[in-house]
Protein backbone atom coordinates (compact mmCIF):
# COMPACT_ATOMS: atom_id res chain seq x y z
CA UNK A 1 0.00 0.00 0.00
CA UNK A 2 2.80 2.33 0.92
CA UNK A 3 4.31 1.94 -2.50
CA UNK A 4 1.14 3.15 -4.18
CA UNK A 5 0.74 6.16 -1.92
CA UNK A 6 4.27 7.51 -2.06
CA UNK A 7 4.55 8.20 -5.82
CA UNK A 8 1.17 9.97 -5.72
CA UNK A 9 2.40 12.27 -2.99
CA UNK A 10 5.58 12.95 -4.89
CA UNK A 11 3.54 13.87 -7.95
CA UNK A 12 1.30 16.10 -5.88
CA UNK A 13 4.19 17.99 -4.35
CA UNK A 14 5.69 18.43 -7.80
CA UNK A 15 2.48 19.92 -9.24
CA UNK A 16 1.96 22.07 -6.18
CA UNK A 17 5.44 23.50 -6.47
CA UNK A 18 5.08 24.06 -10.21
CA UNK A 19 1.75 25.79 -9.66
CA UNK A 20 3.20 28.11 -7.02
CA UNK A 21 6.17 29.00 -9.21
CA UNK A 22 3.96 29.69 -12.24
CA UNK A 23 1.57 31.79 -10.18
CA UNK A 24 4.41 33.85 -8.75
CA UNK A 25 5.94 34.27 -12.22
CA UNK A 26 2.58 35.40 -13.60
CA UNK A 27 2.05 37.92 -10.82
CA UNK A 28 5.56 39.34 -11.18
CA UNK A 29 5.01 39.86 -14.90
CA UNK A 30 1.53 41.27 -14.38
CA UNK A 31 2.20 43.59 -11.42
CA UNK A 32 5.96 44.10 -11.38
CA UNK A 33 8.67 43.04 -8.96
CA UNK A 34 7.79 45.46 -6.17
CA UNK A 35 4.37 43.84 -5.81
CA UNK A 36 6.16 40.56 -5.24
CA UNK A 37 7.93 42.22 -2.31
CA UNK A 38 4.50 43.30 -1.03
CA UNK A 39 3.24 39.76 -1.39
CA UNK A 40 6.25 38.43 0.48
CA UNK A 41 5.74 41.03 3.20
CA UNK A 42 2.10 40.09 3.79
CA UNK A 43 2.65 36.34 3.42
CA UNK A 44 5.53 36.24 5.89
CA UNK A 45 3.88 38.67 8.27
CA UNK A 46 0.79 36.44 8.58
CA UNK A 47 3.05 33.47 9.34
CA UNK A 48 5.37 35.32 11.73
CA UNK A 49 2.44 36.83 13.58
CA UNK A 50 0.67 33.49 13.88
CA UNK A 51 3.69 31.32 14.79
CA UNK A 52 3.73 32.17 18.51
CA UNK A 53 0.02 31.49 18.76
CA UNK A 54 0.16 28.17 16.95
CA UNK A 55 3.08 27.18 19.18
CA UNK A 56 1.05 28.08 22.27
CA UNK A 57 -1.78 25.98 20.84
CA UNK A 58 0.30 22.85 20.25
CA UNK A 59 1.99 23.18 23.66
CA UNK A 60 -1.34 23.52 25.47
CA UNK A 61 -2.54 20.47 23.57
CA UNK A 62 0.62 18.51 24.41
CA UNK A 63 0.45 19.53 28.08
CA UNK A 64 -3.18 18.39 28.23
CA UNK A 65 -2.12 15.11 26.67
CA UNK A 66 0.71 14.42 29.07
CA UNK A 67 -0.30 16.01 32.35
CA UNK A 68 -4.08 16.02 32.59
CA UNK A 69 -5.90 12.73 32.94
CA UNK A 70 -9.18 11.98 31.26
CA UNK A 71 -10.98 11.74 34.60
CA UNK A 72 -10.04 15.29 35.52
CA UNK A 73 -11.28 16.66 32.22
CA UNK A 74 -14.52 14.71 32.21
CA UNK A 75 -15.21 15.79 35.81
CA UNK A 76 -14.61 19.39 34.77
CA UNK A 77 -17.26 19.33 32.02
CA UNK A 78 -20.80 18.89 33.37
CA UNK A 79 -22.59 15.94 31.80
CA UNK A 80 -25.71 18.03 31.19
CA UNK A 81 -25.41 19.13 27.56
CA UNK A 82 -26.85 22.63 28.05
CA UNK A 83 -24.50 23.37 30.93
CA UNK A 84 -21.54 21.67 29.24
CA UNK A 85 -21.89 23.76 26.10
CA UNK A 86 -22.48 26.91 28.13
CA UNK A 87 -19.28 26.32 30.08
CA UNK A 88 -17.39 25.54 26.87
CA UNK A 89 -18.53 28.85 25.34
CA UNK A 90 -17.14 30.81 28.28
CA UNK A 91 -13.90 28.86 28.70
CA UNK A 92 -12.07 31.28 26.41
CA UNK A 93 -12.20 33.87 29.19
CA UNK A 94 -9.56 31.89 31.09
CA UNK A 95 -8.10 30.08 28.03
CA UNK A 96 -7.60 32.83 25.46
CA UNK A 97 -6.37 30.70 22.57
CA UNK A 98 -6.61 32.34 19.18
CA UNK A 99 -7.96 30.60 16.12
CA UNK A 100 -4.51 29.63 14.83
CA UNK A 101 -3.97 27.33 17.80
CA UNK A 102 -7.45 26.22 18.75
CA UNK A 103 -7.95 23.20 16.48
CA UNK A 104 -5.25 21.00 18.06
CA UNK A 105 -6.56 21.85 21.53
CA UNK A 106 -10.15 21.02 20.57
CA UNK A 107 -9.06 17.77 19.00
CA UNK A 108 -7.09 16.84 22.10
CA UNK A 109 -10.10 17.59 24.32
CA UNK A 110 -12.28 15.29 22.21
CA UNK A 111 -9.77 12.46 22.27
CA UNK A 112 -9.66 12.95 26.06
CA UNK A 113 -13.37 12.26 26.25
CA UNK A 114 -14.93 15.73 26.15
CA UNK A 115 -18.26 15.58 24.26
CA UNK A 116 -17.98 16.70 20.63
CA UNK A 117 -20.61 19.39 21.18
CA UNK A 118 -18.74 21.04 24.04
CA UNK A 119 -15.40 20.86 22.22
CA UNK A 120 -16.97 22.45 19.12
CA UNK A 121 -18.56 25.22 21.18
CA UNK A 122 -15.20 25.87 22.84
CA UNK A 123 -13.41 25.85 19.48
CA UNK A 124 -15.82 28.41 18.02
CA UNK A 125 -16.18 30.67 21.06
CA UNK A 126 -12.69 30.85 22.60
CA UNK A 127 -11.02 32.79 19.76
CA UNK A 128 -13.63 35.56 20.17
CA UNK A 129 -15.03 35.44 23.70
CA UNK A 130 -11.79 36.23 25.49
CA UNK A 131 -10.29 39.32 27.13
CA UNK A 132 -7.68 39.95 24.41
CA UNK A 133 -10.15 40.09 21.55
CA UNK A 134 -12.77 41.95 23.58
CA UNK A 135 -10.31 44.71 24.44
CA UNK A 136 -8.88 45.00 20.92
CA UNK A 137 -12.42 45.28 19.57
CA UNK A 138 -13.22 47.91 22.17
CA UNK A 139 -10.14 49.87 21.15
CA UNK A 140 -11.01 49.65 17.46
CA UNK A 141 -14.66 50.64 17.97
CA UNK A 142 -13.89 53.14 20.73
CA UNK A 143 -16.83 55.36 19.83
CA UNK A 144 -19.25 52.51 19.28
CA UNK A 145 -19.05 50.12 22.20
CA UNK A 146 -22.28 48.47 21.14
CA UNK A 147 -20.22 46.69 18.47
CA UNK A 148 -18.14 44.96 21.17
CA UNK A 149 -21.19 43.56 22.94
CA UNK A 150 -22.85 42.66 19.67
CA UNK A 151 -19.72 40.82 18.55
CA UNK A 152 -19.38 38.89 21.80
CA UNK A 153 -23.11 38.21 21.95
CA UNK A 154 -23.30 37.03 18.37
CA UNK A 155 -20.25 34.79 18.81
CA UNK A 156 -21.82 33.29 21.93
CA UNK A 157 -25.12 32.71 20.16
CA UNK A 158 -23.50 31.06 17.15
CA UNK A 159 -21.15 28.89 19.24
CA UNK A 160 -23.92 27.83 21.63
CA UNK A 161 -26.43 26.99 18.90
CA UNK A 162 -23.79 25.20 16.80
CA UNK A 163 -22.79 23.16 19.87
CA UNK A 164 -26.42 22.35 20.57
CA UNK A 165 -27.14 21.32 16.98
CA UNK A 166 -24.07 19.08 17.01
CA UNK A 167 -25.13 17.50 20.31
CA UNK A 168 -28.55 16.63 18.89
CA UNK A 169 -27.70 15.55 15.38
CA UNK A 170 -24.14 14.25 15.29
CA UNK A 171 -22.98 10.97 16.78
CA UNK A 172 -19.51 9.69 17.47
CA UNK A 173 -16.43 11.82 17.97
CA UNK A 174 -15.99 12.61 14.24
CA UNK A 175 -12.21 12.60 14.52
CA UNK A 176 -10.25 11.39 11.54
CA UNK A 177 -9.21 7.87 12.46
CA UNK A 178 -5.85 8.03 10.71
CA UNK A 179 -4.92 11.26 12.42
CA UNK A 180 -5.96 9.96 15.80
CA UNK A 181 -3.30 7.30 15.55
CA UNK A 182 -0.73 9.73 14.32
CA UNK A 183 -1.07 12.44 16.95
CA UNK A 184 1.19 10.78 19.48
CA UNK A 185 3.97 10.68 16.91
CA UNK A 186 4.89 7.21 18.12
CA UNK A 187 1.42 5.76 17.68
CA UNK A 188 0.72 5.79 21.39
CA UNK A 189 -1.68 8.72 21.58
CA UNK A 190 -4.20 6.74 23.56
CA UNK A 191 -2.00 5.35 26.22
CA UNK A 192 -3.39 6.66 29.49
CA UNK A 193 -1.13 9.12 31.25
CA UNK A 194 1.19 6.90 33.22
CA UNK A 195 1.43 8.11 36.76
CA UNK A 196 4.73 6.36 37.21
CA UNK A 197 6.50 8.34 34.48
CA UNK A 198 8.91 10.92 35.81
CA UNK A 199 8.19 14.58 35.23
CA UNK A 200 11.26 14.98 33.02
CA UNK A 201 10.15 12.11 30.81
CA UNK A 202 6.71 13.65 30.57
CA UNK A 203 8.19 17.05 29.71
CA UNK A 204 10.33 15.50 27.01
CA UNK A 205 7.31 13.75 25.55
CA UNK A 206 5.34 17.01 25.75
CA UNK A 207 7.91 18.75 23.56
CA UNK A 208 7.98 15.84 21.09
CA UNK A 209 4.17 15.81 20.88
CA UNK A 210 4.11 19.58 20.47
CA UNK A 211 6.64 19.50 17.66
CA UNK A 212 4.79 16.70 15.86
CA UNK A 213 1.57 18.65 16.08
CA UNK A 214 3.41 21.81 15.01
CA UNK A 215 4.29 20.13 11.73
CA UNK A 216 0.80 18.80 11.35
CA UNK A 217 -0.91 22.17 11.85
CA UNK A 218 1.86 24.49 10.67
CA UNK A 219 1.58 23.36 7.08
CA UNK A 220 -2.04 24.51 6.97
CA UNK A 221 -1.09 27.86 8.41
CA UNK A 222 1.43 28.30 5.59
CA UNK A 223 -0.94 27.08 2.88
CA UNK A 224 -3.72 29.28 4.28
CA UNK A 225 -1.50 32.36 4.43
CA UNK A 226 -0.96 32.04 0.69
CA UNK A 227 -4.45 32.93 -0.63
CA UNK A 228 -4.74 35.39 2.26
CA UNK A 229 -1.65 37.25 1.11
CA UNK A 230 -2.76 37.09 -2.53
CA UNK A 231 -6.13 38.62 -1.64
CA UNK A 232 -4.49 41.31 0.48
CA UNK A 233 -1.98 42.27 -2.20
CA UNK A 234 -3.91 42.03 -5.43
CA UNK A 235 -7.66 42.46 -4.82
CA UNK A 236 -8.61 46.14 -4.71
CA UNK A 237 -10.85 46.74 -1.71
CA UNK A 238 -12.93 49.24 -3.64
CA UNK A 239 -14.29 46.32 -5.64
CA UNK A 240 -16.06 45.25 -2.45
CA UNK A 241 -17.58 48.61 -1.69
CA UNK A 242 -20.35 48.88 -4.26
CA UNK A 243 -22.39 46.25 -2.43
CA UNK A 244 -21.67 47.52 1.07
CA UNK A 245 -25.16 48.54 2.12
CA UNK A 246 -27.38 45.79 0.81
CA UNK A 247 -28.58 43.98 3.94
CA UNK A 248 -27.98 40.40 2.81
CA UNK A 249 -25.39 40.67 0.07
CA UNK A 250 -23.07 42.87 2.14
CA UNK A 251 -23.08 40.23 4.88
CA UNK A 252 -22.25 37.43 2.46
CA UNK A 253 -19.47 39.46 0.83
CA UNK A 254 -17.87 40.17 4.21
CA UNK A 255 -18.15 36.51 5.26
CA UNK A 256 -16.38 35.41 2.09
CA UNK A 257 -13.80 38.16 2.57
CA UNK A 258 -13.19 36.99 6.16
CA UNK A 259 -12.78 33.43 4.93
CA UNK A 260 -10.18 34.49 2.38
CA UNK A 261 -7.98 36.95 4.28
CA UNK A 262 -7.26 34.82 7.39
CA UNK A 263 -6.44 37.71 9.70
CA UNK A 264 -5.91 36.98 13.38
CA UNK A 265 -8.96 37.47 15.61
CA UNK A 266 -7.14 40.03 17.72
CA UNK A 267 -6.46 42.21 14.66
CA UNK A 268 -9.58 41.80 12.56
CA UNK A 269 -11.52 44.49 14.43
CA UNK A 270 -9.11 47.08 13.01
CA UNK A 271 -9.82 45.90 9.50
CA UNK A 272 -13.54 45.89 10.22
CA UNK A 273 -13.47 49.44 11.55
CA UNK A 274 -11.81 50.67 8.36
CA UNK A 275 -14.96 49.54 6.53
CA UNK A 276 -17.31 51.34 8.92
CA UNK A 277 -18.47 54.03 6.55
CA UNK A 278 -18.88 51.75 3.56
CA UNK A 279 -20.39 48.57 5.00
CA UNK A 280 -23.51 47.76 6.98
CA UNK A 281 -23.15 47.02 10.68
CA UNK A 282 -24.35 43.45 10.27
CA UNK A 283 -21.70 42.87 7.61
CA UNK A 284 -18.92 44.11 9.93
CA UNK A 285 -20.18 41.86 12.72
CA UNK A 286 -20.37 38.89 10.35
CA UNK A 287 -16.75 39.60 9.36
CA UNK A 288 -15.64 39.64 13.00
CA UNK A 289 -17.61 36.54 14.03
CA UNK A 290 -17.23 34.28 11.00
CA UNK A 291 -13.53 35.01 10.37
CA UNK A 292 -12.18 33.69 13.68
CA UNK A 293 -14.46 30.63 13.48
CA UNK A 294 -13.82 29.66 9.87
CA UNK A 295 -11.11 30.82 7.47
CA UNK A 296 -8.85 29.14 4.94
CA UNK A 297 -6.14 27.99 7.33
CA UNK A 298 -8.66 26.91 9.94
CA UNK A 299 -10.68 24.91 7.44
CA UNK A 300 -7.58 23.04 6.35
CA UNK A 301 -6.75 22.24 9.98
CA UNK A 302 -10.34 21.14 10.60
CA UNK A 303 -10.25 18.88 7.55
CA UNK A 304 -7.10 17.32 8.93
CA UNK A 305 -8.59 16.75 12.37
CA UNK A 306 -12.20 15.85 11.59
CA UNK A 307 -14.12 13.82 9.03
CA UNK A 308 -14.80 15.88 5.87
CA UNK A 309 -18.58 15.50 6.08
CA UNK A 310 -18.60 16.83 9.60
CA UNK A 311 -16.40 19.81 8.66
CA UNK A 312 -18.73 20.73 5.80
CA UNK A 313 -21.77 20.38 8.03
CA UNK A 314 -20.16 22.53 10.73
CA UNK A 315 -19.16 25.27 8.28
CA UNK A 316 -22.67 25.33 6.82
CA UNK A 317 -24.20 25.59 10.29
CA UNK A 318 -21.88 28.49 11.18
CA UNK A 319 -22.45 30.17 7.83
CA UNK A 320 -26.24 30.11 8.15
CA UNK A 321 -26.24 31.17 11.80
CA UNK A 322 -23.89 34.08 11.15
CA UNK A 323 -25.53 35.26 7.93
CA UNK A 324 -29.02 34.94 9.35
CA UNK A 325 -28.33 36.86 12.54
CA UNK A 326 -26.24 39.53 10.81
CA UNK A 327 -29.04 39.99 8.30
CA UNK A 328 -31.55 40.52 11.12
CA UNK A 329 -29.24 43.02 12.77
CA UNK A 330 -29.17 44.93 9.49
CA UNK A 331 -32.92 44.86 9.00
CA UNK A 332 -34.03 45.62 12.55
Amino acid sequence: MLNTVRPQMKQMSFWLLLFILLLIAFLVIRFGGSSLASFKAVFLSIIIEALPFIIIGVFVSALLENFVSEEVISKFFPSNRYLGILLACLLGIIFPICECGIVPVARRLISKGVPLSSAVAFMLAAPIINPVVASSTAVAFFNNHAMVWLRLGLAFLVAYLAGLLVSFFVRGNQLNASVENETGGCGCAHEPVAASQSVTAKLGKTVVDASNEFFEMGKYLIIGAFPGALAQTFIPRQSLLSIGHQPLLSVIVMVVFAFGVSVCSSADAFIAVSFTSSFSRGALLAFMVFGPMVDVKNTLMLLNAFKPRFVILLILIIFFLVVESAFWINVL
Binding site: A41, L44, V207, A267
Partner: protein, 264 residues
Protein backbone atom coordinates in the same frame (compact mmCIF):
# COMPACT_ATOMS: atom_id res chain seq x y z
CA UNK B 1 15.70 -1.02 5.87
CA UNK B 2 15.05 1.62 3.31
CA UNK B 3 12.08 2.79 5.33
CA UNK B 4 14.22 3.01 8.42
CA UNK B 5 16.56 5.30 6.56
CA UNK B 6 13.69 7.42 5.34
CA UNK B 7 12.54 7.77 8.93
CA UNK B 8 15.96 8.95 10.05
CA UNK B 9 15.99 11.44 7.24
CA UNK B 10 12.59 12.67 8.25
CA UNK B 11 13.82 13.27 11.77
CA UNK B 12 16.77 15.26 10.49
CA UNK B 13 14.68 17.33 8.10
CA UNK B 14 12.17 18.12 10.84
CA UNK B 15 14.95 19.18 13.18
CA UNK B 16 16.50 21.37 10.52
CA UNK B 17 13.20 23.08 9.75
CA UNK B 18 12.65 23.82 13.45
CA UNK B 19 16.19 25.18 13.69
CA UNK B 20 15.69 27.36 10.61
CA UNK B 21 12.37 28.81 11.80
CA UNK B 22 13.84 29.51 15.23
CA UNK B 23 16.92 31.12 13.69
CA UNK B 24 14.78 33.19 11.31
CA UNK B 25 12.68 34.59 14.16
CA UNK B 26 15.78 35.19 16.28
CA UNK B 27 17.53 36.92 13.37
CA UNK B 28 14.51 39.13 12.70
CA UNK B 29 14.43 40.18 16.34
CA UNK B 30 18.13 41.02 16.72
CA UNK B 31 18.46 42.67 13.30
CA UNK B 32 15.40 44.81 13.94
CA UNK B 33 13.78 43.56 10.75
CA UNK B 34 10.86 42.15 12.70
CA UNK B 35 9.33 45.63 12.54
CA UNK B 36 8.68 45.32 8.83
CA UNK B 37 6.50 42.28 9.47
CA UNK B 38 4.73 42.86 12.77
CA UNK B 39 4.06 45.57 15.32
CA UNK B 40 7.07 45.63 17.68
CA UNK B 41 4.83 45.26 20.72
CA UNK B 42 4.62 41.55 19.79
CA UNK B 43 8.41 41.17 19.92
CA UNK B 44 8.30 39.31 23.22
CA UNK B 45 5.94 36.71 21.73
CA UNK B 46 8.28 36.21 18.79
CA UNK B 47 11.23 35.76 21.17
CA UNK B 48 9.30 33.16 23.13
CA UNK B 49 8.36 31.39 19.91
CA UNK B 50 12.02 31.31 18.86
CA UNK B 51 12.97 29.84 22.23
CA UNK B 52 10.22 27.22 21.93
CA UNK B 53 11.36 26.32 18.42
CA UNK B 54 14.95 25.87 19.60
CA UNK B 55 13.82 23.61 22.42
CA UNK B 56 11.71 21.63 19.95
CA UNK B 57 14.77 21.37 17.70
CA UNK B 58 16.94 19.98 20.48
CA UNK B 59 14.35 17.49 21.65
CA UNK B 60 13.46 16.45 18.12
CA UNK B 61 17.07 15.82 17.21
CA UNK B 62 18.39 14.15 20.33
CA UNK B 63 15.54 12.68 22.30
CA UNK B 64 12.76 11.68 20.00
CA UNK B 65 12.73 8.08 18.94
CA UNK B 66 12.39 7.52 15.24
CA UNK B 67 9.00 6.19 14.23
CA UNK B 68 8.47 2.59 15.22
CA UNK B 69 8.67 -0.02 12.48
CA UNK B 70 5.05 -0.96 13.13
CA UNK B 71 3.89 2.58 12.41
CA UNK B 72 1.93 2.44 9.20
CA UNK B 73 2.28 6.09 8.38
CA UNK B 74 5.02 6.35 5.82
CA UNK B 75 7.14 9.46 6.17
CA UNK B 76 5.71 12.09 3.85
CA UNK B 77 8.52 14.25 2.60
CA UNK B 78 6.32 16.47 0.42
CA UNK B 79 4.89 18.02 3.57
CA UNK B 80 8.25 19.56 4.37
CA UNK B 81 8.41 21.32 1.03
CA UNK B 82 5.59 23.53 2.36
CA UNK B 83 7.72 24.59 5.33
CA UNK B 84 10.65 25.40 3.12
CA UNK B 85 8.63 27.85 0.97
CA UNK B 86 8.37 30.68 3.56
CA UNK B 87 11.96 30.08 4.71
CA UNK B 88 13.23 30.31 1.14
CA UNK B 89 11.13 33.43 0.48
CA UNK B 90 12.52 35.07 3.60
CA UNK B 91 16.12 34.36 2.70
CA UNK B 92 16.22 34.51 -1.09
CA UNK B 93 13.85 37.33 -2.00
CA UNK B 94 15.20 40.76 -1.20
CA UNK B 95 12.96 43.48 0.21
CA UNK B 96 9.68 43.09 1.98
CA UNK B 97 8.20 46.56 2.18
CA UNK B 98 4.66 47.22 0.97
CA UNK B 99 4.65 49.29 -2.19
CA UNK B 100 2.40 52.13 -3.25
CA UNK B 101 0.07 49.98 -5.34
CA UNK B 102 -1.04 48.19 -2.18
CA UNK B 103 -1.95 51.54 -0.64
CA UNK B 104 -4.29 52.38 -3.48
CA UNK B 105 -5.83 48.91 -3.47
CA UNK B 106 -6.51 49.25 0.26
CA UNK B 107 -8.52 52.41 -0.38
CA UNK B 108 -7.33 55.83 0.69
CA UNK B 109 -9.07 57.94 3.23
CA UNK B 110 -7.97 61.40 4.18
CA UNK B 111 -10.45 62.11 6.88
CA UNK B 112 -9.12 61.04 10.26
CA UNK B 113 -12.57 59.86 11.34
CA UNK B 114 -12.58 57.08 8.79
CA UNK B 115 -9.18 55.68 9.56
CA UNK B 116 -8.62 52.43 11.34
CA UNK B 117 -5.98 54.25 13.31
CA UNK B 118 -8.11 57.07 14.53
CA UNK B 119 -9.98 55.28 17.29
CA UNK B 120 -6.79 53.56 18.38
CA UNK B 121 -4.90 56.73 19.02
CA UNK B 122 -7.86 58.19 20.88
CA UNK B 123 -8.19 55.20 23.12
CA UNK B 124 -4.45 55.04 23.70
CA UNK B 125 -4.29 58.70 24.57
CA UNK B 126 -6.97 58.12 27.18
CA UNK B 127 -4.86 55.59 29.02
CA UNK B 128 -5.23 52.09 27.52
CA UNK B 129 -1.69 52.44 26.21
CA UNK B 130 0.86 51.37 28.82
CA UNK B 131 2.75 54.54 27.97
CA UNK B 132 -0.46 56.52 28.35
CA UNK B 133 1.15 59.56 29.90
CA UNK B 134 3.33 60.08 26.83
CA UNK B 135 0.24 59.91 24.68
CA UNK B 136 -1.44 62.49 26.84
CA UNK B 137 1.45 64.92 26.51
CA UNK B 138 1.63 64.60 22.76
CA UNK B 139 -2.08 65.14 22.56
CA UNK B 140 -1.75 68.35 24.53
CA UNK B 141 1.13 69.40 22.32
CA UNK B 142 -1.09 68.85 19.30
CA UNK B 143 -3.74 71.13 20.73
CA UNK B 144 -1.30 73.91 21.55
CA UNK B 145 -1.98 77.01 19.54
CA UNK B 146 1.33 77.93 17.97
CA UNK B 147 4.46 76.65 16.31
CA UNK B 148 5.10 74.22 13.49
CA UNK B 149 3.51 70.80 13.86
CA UNK B 150 6.33 68.25 13.62
CA UNK B 151 4.98 64.88 12.54
CA UNK B 152 7.35 62.11 13.69
CA UNK B 153 6.96 58.33 13.55
CA UNK B 154 6.09 58.43 17.26
CA UNK B 155 3.28 60.95 17.07
CA UNK B 156 2.17 60.21 13.50
CA UNK B 157 -1.03 58.37 14.37
CA UNK B 158 -2.14 60.88 17.02
CA UNK B 159 -1.35 63.93 14.89
CA UNK B 160 -2.97 62.68 11.68
CA UNK B 161 -5.97 61.59 13.69
CA UNK B 162 -6.31 64.86 15.63
CA UNK B 163 -5.97 66.99 12.51
CA UNK B 164 -8.30 64.74 10.51
CA UNK B 165 -10.97 64.83 13.20
CA UNK B 166 -11.15 68.61 13.44
CA UNK B 167 -9.26 70.26 10.59
CA UNK B 168 -10.74 73.70 11.43
CA UNK B 169 -8.76 73.78 14.69
CA UNK B 170 -5.51 73.40 12.81
CA UNK B 171 -6.18 75.55 9.75
CA UNK B 172 -3.32 77.94 9.04
CA UNK B 173 -0.79 75.97 11.11
CA UNK B 174 2.53 75.00 9.58
CA UNK B 175 3.30 71.30 9.32
CA UNK B 176 6.45 69.30 8.67
CA UNK B 177 6.20 65.61 7.77
CA UNK B 178 7.68 62.63 5.95
CA UNK B 179 5.70 60.18 3.85
CA UNK B 180 5.33 58.75 0.38
CA UNK B 181 3.30 59.84 -2.62
CA UNK B 182 0.11 58.12 -3.67
CA UNK B 183 -2.75 59.08 -5.98
CA UNK B 184 -6.41 58.34 -6.50
CA UNK B 185 -7.98 58.40 -9.93
CA UNK B 186 -10.01 61.49 -9.03
CA UNK B 187 -7.10 63.65 -7.87
CA UNK B 188 -6.40 66.87 -9.74
CA UNK B 189 -2.95 67.13 -11.38
CA UNK B 190 -1.64 69.43 -8.63
CA UNK B 191 -2.77 67.05 -5.86
CA UNK B 192 -1.46 63.84 -4.35
CA UNK B 193 -1.77 61.91 -1.12
CA UNK B 194 1.11 61.93 1.36
CA UNK B 195 0.82 58.81 3.48
CA UNK B 196 2.46 56.14 5.58
CA UNK B 197 1.30 52.64 6.44
CA UNK B 198 0.06 52.01 9.97
CA UNK B 199 0.65 48.49 11.28
CA UNK B 200 -1.65 47.41 14.11
CA UNK B 201 -0.71 43.73 14.32
CA UNK B 202 1.07 42.62 11.18
CA UNK B 203 1.65 43.84 7.65
CA UNK B 204 -1.55 42.08 6.60
CA UNK B 205 -3.57 44.77 8.37
CA UNK B 206 -1.48 47.73 7.16
CA UNK B 207 -3.65 50.73 6.41
CA UNK B 208 -2.50 53.76 4.45
CA UNK B 209 -2.98 56.95 6.44
CA UNK B 210 -2.12 60.55 5.68
CA UNK B 211 -3.11 63.86 4.10
CA UNK B 212 -3.94 65.30 0.71
CA UNK B 213 -1.19 67.61 -0.47
CA UNK B 214 -1.38 70.45 -2.99
CA UNK B 215 1.63 71.65 -4.92
CA UNK B 216 2.19 73.12 -8.36
CA UNK B 217 5.12 70.72 -8.76
CA UNK B 218 3.00 67.68 -7.90
CA UNK B 219 3.49 66.02 -11.30
CA UNK B 220 7.25 65.72 -10.63
CA UNK B 221 6.68 63.16 -7.89
CA UNK B 222 5.75 59.65 -8.91
CA UNK B 223 3.70 57.28 -6.75
CA UNK B 224 5.84 55.65 -4.11
CA UNK B 225 8.39 58.48 -3.89
CA UNK B 226 9.38 59.33 -0.32
CA UNK B 227 9.37 63.07 0.38
CA UNK B 228 9.85 65.46 3.24
CA UNK B 229 7.41 68.35 3.07
CA UNK B 230 6.71 71.62 4.78
CA UNK B 231 3.36 73.26 4.28
CA UNK B 232 0.31 74.95 5.70
CA UNK B 233 -2.85 73.15 6.76
CA UNK B 234 -6.04 74.24 5.02
CA UNK B 235 -9.60 72.99 5.10
CA UNK B 236 -11.20 71.63 1.96
CA UNK B 237 -13.95 69.35 0.73
CA UNK B 238 -13.13 65.98 -0.73
CA UNK B 239 -15.63 63.28 -1.51
CA UNK B 240 -18.34 65.28 0.31
CA UNK B 241 -16.29 65.38 3.50
CA UNK B 242 -14.43 68.15 5.23
CA UNK B 243 -10.77 67.18 5.18
CA UNK B 244 -7.48 68.86 5.96
CA UNK B 245 -5.35 69.64 2.91
CA UNK B 246 -1.70 70.66 3.07
CA UNK B 247 -0.62 73.48 0.80
CA UNK B 248 3.05 72.60 0.28
CA UNK B 249 5.67 75.32 0.65
CA UNK B 250 8.65 73.05 0.17
CA UNK B 251 9.11 69.48 -1.00
CA UNK B 252 12.34 67.54 -0.66
CA UNK B 253 13.02 64.04 -1.92
CA UNK B 254 13.98 61.65 0.87
CA UNK B 255 15.25 58.11 1.16
CA UNK B 256 12.81 55.46 2.31
CA UNK B 257 13.34 55.24 6.08
CA UNK B 258 14.75 51.97 7.37
CA UNK B 259 11.56 51.78 9.41
CA UNK B 260 8.94 52.69 6.80
CA UNK B 261 5.85 51.94 8.90
CA UNK B 262 4.32 53.62 11.90
CA UNK B 263 2.76 51.78 14.84
CA UNK B 264 -0.12 52.98 16.96
Amino acid sequence: MQQQMARDWEKIIKSLILLCFGSLLFYLVISGQLRIYINPRFTILTELAAAALFSMFVVQLFYSRSRQPDDHNAPRMWVYVIFIVPLALAVLLPGAVLDASVASSRGLSFNGGNLASAPLSQAFASGIDPGGSAGQQANDAGVSKSGTIQVTPDNFVRMVDAIGQSPEDYAGREIDMLGFVIRNKDFAPQEFGLIRFIITCCTADASPVGFILKSKDAVDYKDGTWINIQGVIEVDNYDQQVVPVIEATSIERAAQPSDPYVYP
